[in-house]
Symmetry: C2
């Protein structure tokens, strides 16, 4: 991996040229919804989703023929502190499981007919332990961001972004704490299932890492470099490239949303093309979603990562587009309007 190169300054430059919403396409979607054979607003968020897709695909009608799920996998030096219920070797084992088709996200992609891409990011070279040092050098971070950008190709109608990485809810918690404040307890949760002493260790690692890198607090991209990880930087890159390429984004759980939050901290408009798919059972996700001013589509108590919730949400988007484009209008169907 990491063939692509960019500098963090180039990434900052992109962020200063974010494409605006296509209000014409969005308005066309809103007008069509009013004509369809249902009481106004009766499809609720499905109507909002159709309008959102049109707005950020920049076309009406919106399409959902080519959805992609992208899962970025990376390893974390901080995992050596025993912050996860699983050993770090599981990251690579799960990547093999993705490739072999045995993971949850494989089955979910089959159900919603999404193209699955798994991006393995230097798994034998974990980031540095964020309690002691910056996770990545500037160059490493920029390359990881650029690598994530490569997941966005022309012709995609939506991308569901997720991650896999033993230790990465620790990184996500540290990043969230540094970006949004509060306490380490606010942002530290059970992750893969830690409890007791392990949860205490995780919380202490989050607090120590943020204290170690507090001088960087004014620069979200520098926080990503210092507290994030390869896969989190890649998610941020994919979110940014999707905005540039007019591909709407479904964000998965806590780690993926924390990665995207880096862009929000730079410019609150930077995630307007993103919908948070679900509220993870990882408790900090709800707090993070609120900080982003978002409302998740559903809450099924999922806490798996690997883009599982975001992939499930592709099915909801398909439903939204199918209703929007396939329903008859009142005049087509000869159905009376309100009396």
């Amino acid at each position: 991996m990491l063939e692509a190169a960019a500098s963090l300054d180039e990434i900052r430059a992109l962020l200063s040229h974010l494409p605006d919403p296509d209000l014409e396409a969005g308005t066309a979607a809103a007008l069509r919804e009013r004509e369809l054979t249902k009481p106004a607003g009766a499809l609720g968020r499905l109507e909002e989703l159709a309008q959102w897709l049109a707005t950020w695909q920049g076309r009406h009608p919106p399409r959902l023929d080519h959805p992609r799920t992208a899962v970025f996998a990376g390893n974390h030096g901080v995992a050596a502190r025993g912050v996860s219920a699983y050993p770090a070797a599981v990251t690579a084992q799960m990547v093999e499981n993705f490739v072999a088709g045995g993971a949850a996200v494989n089955q979910l992609c089959r159900v919603v007919d999404a193209d699955l891409r798994v991006y393995e990011m230097n798994l034998d070279q974990p980031t540095a332990d964020i309690v002691d040092a910056p996770a990545m050098s500037e160059e490493e971070c920029a390359r990881a961001v650029a690598y994530g950008m490569m997941a966005i190709e022309p012709g995609l109608d939506v991308v569901a972004l997720g991650e896999m990485g033993i230790g990465n809810t620790t990184a996500a918690a540290a990043l969230s704490l540094a970006l949004f404040g509060g306490t380490a307890e606010d942002w530290t949760g059970r992750g893969t299932g830690v409890a007791g002493d392990a949860l205490d260790r995780k919380c202490a690692a989050v607090a120590a890492a943020v204290a170690r890198h507090r001088d960087a607090a004014a620069d979200p991209l520098d926080l990503l470099r210092r507290l994030g990880g390869h896969e989190l930087a890649a998610v941020a890159g994919a979110v940014l490239a999707a905005r540039m390429g007019r591909v709407p984004v479904l964000l998965d759980g806590f780690a993926a949303t924390a990665a995207a939050a880096v862009l929000f901290a730079i410019d609150p408009r930077a995630l307007d093309h993103c919908v948070v798919a679900h509220v993870s059972a990882e408790q900090a996700h709800r707090r993070l979603i609120e900080r982003l001013g978002k409302r998740a589509l559903f809450n099924l108590d999922m806490r798996l990562g690997e883009a599982s919730g975001a992939t499930l949400a592709i099915g909801i988007l398909k439903a939204a587009v199918a209703c929007h484009t396939g329903m008859a209008t009142f005049s087509d169907a000869g159905v009376s309007g309100p009396a």
Copy 2:
């Protein structure tokens, strides 16, 4: 329609012989979930759904190859009181729209690959106005229940139940008030979009209907006959037949859930094979779901009826079954368990 015949006493007899859950199949599902390549419980309600399907299909693994959506349509004498934003003629017009493929539920069935059946129930013979008289005779009600039972055929893996009927949230509100108590205001909502004077009229009709039939309050099936409607009786029949035939049920919105609640009022175990698909934006639905001790799968602010929410939920069930049956186990995949 209404070829089938049964008496309300025969229906009562069925209710005294409800099949029990298949705990062996459910346990087999729970045990398999523990072996799959994810932290325990990380798929949240998807795991619960796999177990619920196994329990009520009476087999492990559960299957979801043959989902059906059944929509029952009926007309209501109380509609003449101006309790809906739409004229009663819209019920038949919407049935034509279902047949022509132009309604929301048609598109949703296409997305989740469900077989759609629409049951038109004597649309030219609305029920009596419940403010003045019982909606149906004993024979009419029993026939409508029996007609609903016919929607359940061998080989179905799940059935999503919904309704269409101008005026039927008024009937559902009256039924809910009579079954569960409270005030007419508690159970009366905007339906297709009524407000102001029309909402006041609707609320008054609900209160008057329940007062008119208060002597029947001890007998839920008699309340269904007096306050319900053809399509609501059919939903109750379909729920009951599904239980007898080991077909798990997805309940749609307020009207469909109110119809099912009649069975709950007779025996609280009668809906154990049912999941409420979504929380409707019709405010009384949330209250009703709580009374049933259920937790809906999602809330997308939908308020359309016609089994739209329940059909969307079929996609979630498919995801649950795909993960349950398709994922690798830790030992298959060579993934390490917790450290």
